[in-house]
Symmetry: C2
Subunit: 606 residues, 2 copies
């Protein structure tokens, strides 16, 4: 039955050979790779204004300079990644670049940051997408956690099925989003210039904050830096472009950077012009669209396009996270289960892991984008910075044609993102960034521990002089007897069939009555295997059995020892709850004693 359910939800299995590659045109690639970056326009302005509004309308007046600084940073990062694309035409994620050029630990830090970042991308994008919906339909606001989790479940399921036609699915909503947001900005600024918009509502100033300090502006800047998330996506996917890959990827990156800068600046400028203040239950874009177009068809189009592009952004993490964890697992830094393709040729385990973590975040943070954001940018900027410094080192080591200007460009990028990282981490530390800063070293430590385990495994298992060890001449079978029934008799028959040197039956008795009763039954049924009854006044079954087996091994050091255990096989899973899991417990203990354990099935089906 569980299998039937799985087939229904996930679809029939696909052959390994069915795995194919789709090459993308620049136009499609822009849509595929930019949803993460462009969608951050949907919440970045909100985050800046939420800081600035603490200083009232005076504070809100600083939104444009802050946005301009962020766009400057955007330019640096885009140019830097343009270089990465040239240097890593096979795809240069921060993990690979940092590992190749800065060594193992830098790579692991970058990898851990990226994994955290992907989880947060899913959580933030979904909650922001739900916010776009609840801005349009305020009555749904109370159910935003449930809606977010339902959307997450849907995306997860689609990814477990393996979405093949991704290119086309992405193109339409991405361009609708770009076009409708562009129209909003242009019409809005036009109407503002011609004075056909209502005047802005006055904003109450917070009397506690009068002086606009540099720290205050840095906080606003840090909050807005979420606008940069997703810029690195193209550099990971150079191989997906049509030839010439490098050139096409670079052009697409620059176009995306320009679009991102325009939309972000446009939204912030319009918000300033109209005098929008951030609200808890309505996004800035929704407020702008309502002010410019009224609550009509075009308003709903903008909200829908925003929601859809955010869901697509969440969806890209469902490709990135499993792919990166598969790469890291192949390097033996994550559990090997993450390497394998599932039934539908997708990394099912990675998808499920990502869904579990991001679902937990959506639940724990009450589906509130604004509370999740402080965790977000830290991981992103660690990745940016390590990737840039990795490039610096690469240029320096290789020193090929024209290496100096290229190295300087990446150095500027690395330094800029490092400074921003420090700003973001310190201004948002108490708001949640501390958790990410704590989790990343933990993940690195786990990765190192995992790696050590696999290395140890490999050494343990490597074949050296194994062949020379002879087959044991003596073979002792121990039949574990909990009671005398059909299953015991079948197991005894099986043990005899092994034709060991000798067999002993062992019963652990909790009290005298038990021992006497078993001895009597054993004689009555004429069992032709000698029965040993071991008393266990403390009712410790496994311990006594292990003790007895150790004794046998001590007496016959050269013999192979096999413990035969009758094991119930229940047709229904719930019936397992009706039995002591004695067999399983015994088996696990005995394997530690280096004894082979045979389970002889006793079928309970009709």
């Amino acid at each position: 039955m569980p299998n039937v359910l799985k087939r229904l939800l996930v679809g029939r299995p696909l052959k390994t050979a069915q795995s194919t590659e789709e090459r993308l045109t620049k136009r499609t690639a822009l849509a595929v790779f930019s949803s993460d970056a462009l969608s951050s326009v949907a919440y970045a302005t909100d985050e800046i204004l939420l800081v600035l509004v603490m200083a009232g309308s005076v504070g809100l007046g600083y939104s444009l300079p802050v946005a301009a600084a962020i766009i400057g940073l955007m330019l640096v990062v885009v140019v830097s990644y343009g270089q990465t694309i040239r240097a890593y035409p096979s795809g240069g994620g921060a993990y690979i670049v940092a590992k190749d050029n800065l060594g193992r630990y830098a790579g692991l830090i970058a990898g851990a940051s990226l994994l955290v970042d992907y989880i947060l991308t899913v959580a933030v994008s979904i909650t922001a997408g739900v916010a776009a919906v609840t801005s349009a339909f305020p009555s749904l606001y109370g159910d935003r956690v449930e809606i977010g989790l339902a959307v997450l479940a849907f995306i997860t399921l689609m990814n477990l099925r393996g979405i093949r036609e991704s290119g086309r699915v992405f193109a339409v909503p991405a361009y609708v989003f770009i076009a409708s947001l562009g129209a909003l900005i242009l019409v809005g600024l036009w109407r503002a210039a011609t004075g056909t918009l209502p005047p802005p509502a006055p904003v109450a100033g917070n009397p506690a904050v009068w002086v606009i300090t540099p720290i205050f502006l840095l906080r606003a800047f840090a909050a807005g830096c979420t606008a940069l998330t997703g810029i690195e996506a193209i550099s990971n996917g150079v191989q997906a472009f049509k030839k010439p890959e490098t050139k096409n990827a670079r052009i697409t990156l620059f176009v995306m950077g320009a679009l991102l800068a325009c939309l972000f600046l446009g939204v912030t400028a319009l918000a300033r012009r109209i005098g929008v203040a951030p609200l808890e239950n309505e996004t800035v874009i929704s407020q702008l669209a309502r002010a410019v177009f009224g609550r009509g068809g075009f308003y709903f189009l903008i909200q829908a396009a925003t929601a859809v592009i955010l869901l697509l952004a969440a969806n890209t993490s469902f490709a990135d996270f499993p792919r990166l964890s598969s790469i890291m697992a192949k390097d033996r830094y994550l559990p090997v289960q993450l390497i394998n393709l599932g039934d539908r040729l997708v990394y099912s385990n990675g998808i499920i892991l990502l869904a579990a973590f991001s679902g937990a975040l959506i639940f724990l943070f009450g589906g509130d984008t604004h509370r999740l954001i402080p965790l977000y940018a830290v991981g992103v900027f660690i990745g940016f910075s390590l990737s840039q410094f990795g490039m610096v080192r690469r240029w320096y080591v290789e020193r090929g044609n024209g290496w100096l200007p290229r190295m300087l460009l990446n150095l500027i990028g690395g330094l800029a993102t490092l400074v921003v990282l420090v700003i973001v981490a310190s201004t948002k530390f108490t708001h949640g960034a501390w958790a990410v800063i704590a989790v990343i070293p933990l993940l690195v430590a786990m990765a190192v521990g995992t790696n050590r385990h696999y290395k140890h495994l490999k050494t343990r298992l490597s074949l050296t002089e194994e062949r020379r060890i002879p087959v044991a001449q003596e073979h002792i079978a121990i039949l574990f007897v909990s009671d005398l029934h059909k299953g015991t008799v079948a197991a005894a028959r099986y043990a005899k069939g092994l034709r060991p040197t000798f067999i002993k039956a062992l019963h652990i008795a909790f009290d005298e009555q038990d021992a006497a009763a078993m001895r009597e039954k054993w004689t009555a049924w004429e069992m032709d295997i000698p029965l040993i009854i071991a008393p266990s006044p403390y009712r410790q079954l496994t311990e006594m059995l292990v003790h007895y087996v150790q004794e046998i091994e001590r007496q016959h050091p050269a013999a192979a020892v096999t413990v035969v255990i009758p094991e119930f096989v229940c047709p229904h899973w719930w019936q397992l709850l009706l039995h002591n899991q004695t067999a399983a417990r015994i088996k696990s203990e005995l394997l530690h004693e280096n004894v082979a354990v045979v389970s002889v099935p006793i079928q309970l089906a009709e």
Copy 2:
């Protein structure tokens, strides 16, 4: 390590022979068995007043008649149980009485009701005990769920350790509670009569309810019926009394009934006299004690005694629930795991189950006694009623000396409790009683299903002509090979040691490279077992293995088949997460195919 932790918390194991019986004097027995019944005085009056106050001070005026009716019912129940004690000197819980006299289903309904009742006793008593504490220290009110769960954890741990000295532990707090509550009532009524108490504060009448309808009074009556919970305790434990058991138990029951009636009536009368109205965050007893004695030493003594006796009441369920579930498990209506005594000679599994359910209730109901109460009385009265009708049938079937008046007495008890059951179930239905009414048939159905499973098991396993089946002459070993390493070679050596008729090594290949690589390694290492490579383009390991085994079984129907699986043994539990649980999955599937499975351990420890 988990074992060390267990020993630290639970203590060292005890021998089966160390199990002894403590016989109780009447005085100690009263303390041991009455905490459940007497402690209900701590909340029963609150529940009546919470209904009556909806009709304001007019409604509160009816508290004494309602209490009087409940005391009448109490008299009937006490007399009825006096007869049960005489008829069942070995202990006559509702499950046994109903099963013996009314048949299997009546017994199961009574058993299920009792189990639910015990869970609720723990939840209600703990939350009411915490309410006694938070009444005295209102600043703790916000943490009542956490305090309740901590107290539950403490009681659970004490019971898992096995509390031997229960008798003495119970006596002091029970008598302190009786004495201090008695003093409160007497001094309170005296001061009220002499006019040295401040006049009652006026109570605001609810304008919506002016007419005091019979339904309204029935609701108050049903709410107060929680005062009867726990009366049956003595009849379950007749064997714990010193000789003559029956006589001593009956005397103790009547004394307890009289005490319960006096305390309940006294508290209600004093509340009426002082004009106390129920408050959300202060119990009636706390209000009374404050009014009579002021917030001084005696006030805190009363609150402490109330809290302690409520915890002792919760504690009695920790003896009753595991004992009843062990009895029902011996009858094969509950999983057999509930039969066994744990390390410390207590029914550990039952204790853990009870703690889990009552903890969930405390959490789900926000630690609020008042919200839990509507679920409480239904189970209690089902038990009362079935037990009484069981006695009626017993007197009638036996028709011994003076059977008619005895039967009539129990008939009155049965009818009275049945009527109250209907009242309680209908007036509290929408407040939560529906859940209990839904859960009980579910539990009965589960018990019947469990019973059917065990019966089927017994039939399947009964020895008939088993001995005649000969030992298989042919023995085929199949070595499962996922990769060629030291573990594989060790497993191959073990398989050869079994000296089967023939061995085949089987590798499932997901693609062509994999197949070629394995074939090459197998040849290079000169493995002298024929290797079969089965392609699985859909990456389905278990399915292919099962398919191959079925094929072998078809070709050799008379042979015994053993599948040999190398299995990693990790020294640390977390390392298990780093491996596919392939061996376990394969084993479980193959056992369903009636094939013996050997795990050959590969030690990974240093």
